[in-house]
């Protein structure tokens, strides 16, 4: 296990799909450079892939028409574990959390199953009208 004691924190709020995805991927690149991991670091690839899945869900389903609330995003690394938090104002998604990987010919429905497999922990809570996501992986 490689140790790296540099800490890192990044926060952002965003509303648009392209803008949000650019910020999420950009934050992982900044983390990668800050802690000196190569582009092909497998743990970070796993984490970024899971973040892309949850992030695109949040950005496409988490901002129902008429909502003004932006998506809040935080990325933290404590020297061992990376953790991302995302919150949105979409409908509750409890029933989707345990969805299994669909058949090969299915064109959709893999995102949450992929994220679960790639992370050490995928947390989800409904607080009032807000979905709160927590993605955790030891690097």
């Amino acid at each position: 296990m490689r140790s790296n004691h540099r800490r890192f924190e990044f926060t952002a709020t965003f509303t648009g799909l392209d803008e949000g995805l650019d910020i999420l991927h950009g934050s992982i690149q900044r983390l990668r450079e800050a802690i000196g991991r190569p582009q092909d670091d497998r743990s970070l690839i796993f984490f970024e892939t899971a973040l892309g899945e949850i992030g695109s869900n949040v950005l496409t389903h988490g901002r129902p028409a008429g909502t003004e609330r932006p998506v809040d995003y935080t990325l933290r690394f404590d020297g061992v574990t990376v953790e991302a938090s995302l919150s949105d104002s979409g409908v509750p998604v409890h029933e989707h959390l345990t969805r299994e990987m669909p058949a090969h010919d299915s064109e959709a429905g893999r995102g949450l199953a992929m994220a679960r497999s790639l992370l050490d922990e995928l947390g989800y809570e409904r607080e009032g009208e807000v979905n709160k996501w927590r993605l955790v992986k030891r690097l």
Binding site: D22, R42, S56, M101, A108, G111
Partner: protein, 114 residues
């Protein structure tokens, strides 16, 4: 970052479709549109050159499955993937879709014997 897609014809008549950027929920429609144009020419034999794809998500993967079904639905149609980066390979292996899309290290390898 919008996905850009270039299309060219290889010497053996195979169409090489080369997307550049993230093949994700925002970029997937551009790949589907490009392949829909190719499928008009029968039989569609297509290599997707993934070298320029920095990242794929489940929606991007879904678009590749959709075009695979579209291409294999045409008589003589076939699709090969070439030059996926490590992130794309991780996603293919995680979803076991590497069994459906045997990928090639380079476009040249994918074109050989196609």
């Amino acid at each position: 970052m919008a996905l850009e897609v270039e299309t060219r014809q290889a010497e053996n008549g195979v169409t090489v479709v080369a997307p550049t950027g993230r093949l994700d929920v925002a970029g997937a429609p551009a790949l589907k549109d490009a392949i829909s144009e190719v499928v008009k020419n029968s039989p569609p034999r297509v290599v997707i050159d993934m070298e320029g794809v920095s990242f794929v998500d489940s929606t991007g993967l879904g678009s590749v499955i959709a075009v695979l079904k579209q291409i294999r639905g045409s008589e003589g149609g076939e699709l090969r993937l070439a030059a996926p980066n490590q992130q794309v390979r991780v996603v293919l292996e995680l979803t076991t879709l590497d069994r459906v899309f045997p990928y090639y290290a380079t476009v040249e390898e994918a074109l050989t014997g196609f």
